[in-house]
């Protein structure tokens, strides 16, 4: 055989529509054996629609493939778009496999891990009984899951997010497919777990020589995993090239914009404020779960173990740590949404802890919270006008008649049109909803805003716009932010000072620049090492058969 070697998956002028909306327009790309192609773009750019079209799962989501071709296989390629259903089923899982974003919901919660893997084996390999169990065990070993024998008998909820994603990968790879499609497989994970999953994927690819189509909105991740990149916008391909080339010299304006928005570690943090009188003081706070109530037999588990911190006026304190380290519990304790077991929280010198709900209520006007999930933190049945002015209304700052005017004013302040007031939350995108959440917090003119993973559910461009908005609000109104995130690069961009949280304790704190330049605690160093960096392409030269250079 001579070069050029044929691609294993070839997509040509693919067009996909939902109803009358075109989701993918004229998309073409090839993937070769042993190669990783990243499909990059913000949400709504047609990345996922493309992935689902390749598996022909798009019909079930209500979409249609209007035209183009999807060919699978180097020799005697199969045309996926016209394949009859029976052959399609045989192909899925066998030759093309997919890993989804949500490891929480992609596994059946009432089925043991072993059973779920064996099910795939039975369908595709006709394996049952002891043979299936042995193969399932081997599959878990391949993705380096500790104690595979025990995991086989566990249920999905007993596993952490990272382990679940490993199980998903094990299941996808069990039939050694030619092509693996990974749709944002690490977006729901925190950085350290993400780094582990990415290196796992790279190792498996080297071992098995499969092609990987990696879908992501995060250019940092692209640098860690992809050989080539296709940048998508509004369903069109805007740029394609080798990862290093694109990072070094992006040709298209949108690619540059995307790179601009991607948080880059080491790009400098805001200087710490010279004079910032403390607004919020937390001293020796302890919060436990499981005390009393339904699980009264179990011992209380402390989630926050003796945390002290201060937040100055007009200052942003970044709180970083991996999921489960107690960041959210700390935020909720400060807001008195959970009762701390001991310790004290004071706002402007007044104690928040230990006072009755009635005494607490007026104080709530001075502290507001923005939540992680912009889809679930807005009541779907309320108009935006009511949502945005609700805190002010509750504190008597506005009467029923003034709500419309106030909503219009607040919406303009967060960069939304005033007409948005009469609409409902489902009519807005994720980024817009997060703006609504911020407008809502601003309605009472708070002293502090606790932002709990407020940009984690957004893609880079939207996250950038939201953090810029927060900085602007801070400059204008002097609000203090407690900015909680697992993404240290985002935290760096917004925080004057930083606090690193690990297993319920704050292990390191100080001015952001100083801490990131010379981290003292080993956990901080680990956290920093795990962050995917856009500047570097740290993928080693592919060890497997290099794809032939693409014909011009």
């Amino acid at each position: 055989m001579t070069a050029p070697n044929p691609p294993i998956l070839s997509v040509k002028s693919l067009r996909v529509a939902f109803g009358s909306t075109l989701a993918v327009r004229d998309l073409s790309f090839d993937i070769h054996r042993g190669e990783t192609l990243a499909l990059v773009g913000e949400s709504g750019s047609g990345k996922s629609a493309t992935a689902l079209s390749i598996l022909r799962l798009i019909d079930r989501e209500g979409g249609r493939i209007l035209g183009g071709s999807i060919r699978l296989g180097a020799r005697d390629p199969v045309e996926v778009t016209t394949l009859p259903p029976a052959e399609l089923r045989a192909l899925r899982g066998e030759r093309i496999a997919m890993v989804f974003q949500e490891p929480m919901t992609s596994l059946n919660p009432v089925m043991r891990i072993g059973r779920q893997i064996e099910e795939t084996l039975r369908l595709h390999r006709g394996l049952t009984g002891a043979a299936a169990r042995k193969t399932a065990r081997a599959a878990l070993e391949r993705v380096t899951i500790p104690e595979p024998e025990r995991r086989l008998d566990q249920y999905p909820h007993e596993l952490s997010g990272g382990l679940r994603q490993r199980v998903m990968i094990a299941m996808a790879l069990i039939c050694e497919p030619d092509v693996l499609i990974a749709d944002e497989p690490t977006t729901a994970l925190d950085v350290t777990t993400q780094a582990e999953i990415l290196s796992l994927l790279r190792r498996l690819q080297a071992e098995m020589g499969m092609a990987v189509l990696f879908i992501t909105h995060d250019l940092g991740v692209v640098g860690k995993i992809a050989d080539r990149v296709v940048v998508m916008k509004n369903g069109c391909k805007v740029e394609e090239g080798r990862t290093g080339d694109i990072f070094a010299a992006p040709r298209h304006g949108y690619t540059r914009e995307l790179m601009e928005a991607t948080p880059r570690l080491g790009s400098g943090a805001p200087e710490p404020l010279a004079e910032a009188p403390a607004v919020l003081r937390v001293s020796d706070l302890v919060t436990s779960y499981g005390a009393g109530g339904l699980f009264s037999r179990s011992k209380p588990v402390p989630a926050v173990r003796g945390v002290s911190l201060t937040l100055g006026r007009g200052e942003t304190l970044g709180l970083v740590g991996e999921s489960g380290c107690g960041k959210s519990t700390l935020a909720r304790s400060i807001m008195r949404l959970v009762e701390p077991a001991s310790g004290e929280v004071t706002l402007d010198g007044e104690a928040i802890t230990g006072v009755s709900q009635a005494r607490l209520k007026p104080m709530r006007a001075r502290m507001q919270m923005v939540f992680q999930d912009p889809y679930a933190s807005l009541n779907p049945r309320m108009t935006i006008r009511d949502v945005v002015t609700e805190p002010a209304f509750l504190h008597g700052a506005v009467n029923a008649r003034g709500r419309a005017d106030m909503a219009a004013d607040l919406l303009t302040r967060v960069g939304l049109p005033a007409e948005a007031a009469e609409r409902y939350p489902h009519q807005f995108s994720g980024g817009q909803r997060q703006r609504i959440c911020i407008a809502r917090a601003l309605s009472v003119g708070p002293r502090i805003i606790v932002a709990d993973e407020a940009v984690s559910a957004l893609d880079v461009s939207n996250a950038r716009r939201i953090t810029d908005l927060m900085a602007e609000i801070q400059r204008r109104d002097g609000v203090s932010f407690l900015f909680i995130s697992h993404d240290i690069a985002v935290v760096e961009r917004v925080s004057h000072r930083i606090a690193v949280m690990y297993r319920g304790k704050i292990v390191e704190t100080g001015p952001t620049n100083a801490v990131l330049a010379a981290p003292e605690h080993p956990y901080t160093r680990r956290l920093l090492a795990a962050v995917p960096r856009i500047a570097q392409v740290d993928r080693p030269a592919p060890s497997v058969a290099l794809p032939a250079p693409l014909p011009a």
């Binding site: 939902f18 109803g19 909306t21 989701a23 913000e42 949400s43 709504g44 750019s45 047609g46 990345k47 996922s48 629609a49 689902l52 989501e61 209500g62 979409g63 989804f100 974003q101 949500e102 749709d183 944002e184 109530g293 339904l294 909720r332 807001m335 949404l337 709900q357 209520k361 709530r364 006007a365 507001q368 919270m369 939540f371 992680q372 999930d373 679930a376 933190s377 807005l378 009541n379 779907p380 049945r381 309320m382 609700e390 805190p391 509750l394 504190h395 409902y424 489902h426 009519q427 995108s429 994720g430 959440c437 809502r440 009472v444 559910a457």
Partner: protein, 295 residues
């Protein structure tokens, strides 16, 4: 994935929206509902005869178009010579009133208890749920018979009994929904904004449980129509000579072989009523859901 999810959701909404406005069965049901409601309200004006007016000379006359049909008696007459159409119309008026008031009593009672049980995770919840279990375990027709036998049957007692009949279903649905909703971040967001429990229940929980409640209300409505018919059929519901749809069927039973039309008109109305109410419930649920509205 969020972008795709948005597009898919919009697409589904559009399809659901088309079904909400364009479904032919829903249109028929809507038309029937208007006609039935108008008939119930305007009964005294449109009923051709007094429903209690007996005329032994023209008893057991078949509907118009048959031999021996009495003049003006469109659906014939019963064993005492009363006009079947007029009685059926008056009967429907009474039955509908009983069903609506009864279903509303159940809704208020069950809904309130359901919200309390969902919000207060304490002995109060256990007590309410124990009551629910008891209500489900005991055949309610027996309880109703006992109450009516002891207190005697009049419309007030009857409507209370019918109201209590369905409360446990509302309570169960509302409690489950409230428990699901209280885990949602927007409830926590309201709490963080300074909202109290009563405010949260009224402004955040209730609007979100409307959909399942509307469906349950329509189910209860048809159940009550049937329960009232059963009780009247057994002679413990609406007392003769006052007509209700159930009592008409009950009293007409003896004449089924010779004069089936006595049963036919009220029975057909019971079927039409329950059908209409069910379809209407689906339509209302779709209308009440802002998420199904177009972007």
């Amino acid at each position: 994935m969020t972008g795709l999810a948005d597009i898919v959701a919009r697409h589904r909404r559009r399809r659901a929206g088309a079904a909400a406005g364009g479904d032919i069965i829903q249109r028929i049901a809507l038309l029937l509902a208007v006609l039935l409601a108008a008939a119930a309200i305007l009964t005294p004006l449109i009923a051709p005869f007094d429903p209690l007016d007996q005329s032994l000379i023209s008893r057991l006359r078949p509907p118009a178009g048959f031999d021996r049909a009495g003049p003006g008696h469109l659906f014939g007459t019963d064993e005492l010579g009363r006009d079947v159409l007029s009685r059926a119309l008056y009967g429907m008026r009474l039955t509908l009133t009983l069903a609506f008031v009864g279903a509303l009593i159940g809704l208020c009672l069950g809904g309130t208890l359901g919200v309390i049980a969902g919000l207060r995770r304490s002995w109060l919840e256990d007590a309410i749920m124990a009551l629910v279990d008891m209500q489900i375990a005991i055949p309610f027709t027996l309880v109703a018979l006992l109450v009516l036998a002891v207190l005697g049957s009049n419309v007030t007692v009857l409507v209370l009994v019918l109201g209590v009949a369905g409360w446990e279903q509302y309570a169960r649905i509302v409690r489950a929904e409230v428990r699901r909703l209280t885990g949602q971040p927007f409830i926590e967001a309201a709490r963080a904004a300074g909202a109290g429990t009563v405010y949260i229940a009224r402004r955040h929980l209730l609007p979100n449980v409307v959909s399942p409640l509307v469906v349950q209300f329509t189910l209860a409505l048809s159940n009550i129509v049937i329960l009232e018919s059963t009780l009247s059929f057994l002679g413990l519901g609406v007392q003769p000579p006052q007509p209700s749809l159930g009592s008409m069927v009950g009293l007409g039973r003896d004449y089924m072989p010779t004069a089936p039309w006595i049963v036919l008109a009220p029975a057909a109305l019971i079927v039409t009523l329950t059908f209409t109410v069910q379809i209407l419930g689906d339509w209302l649920r779709d209308r009440a859901d802002v998420r199904l509205q177009e972007r």
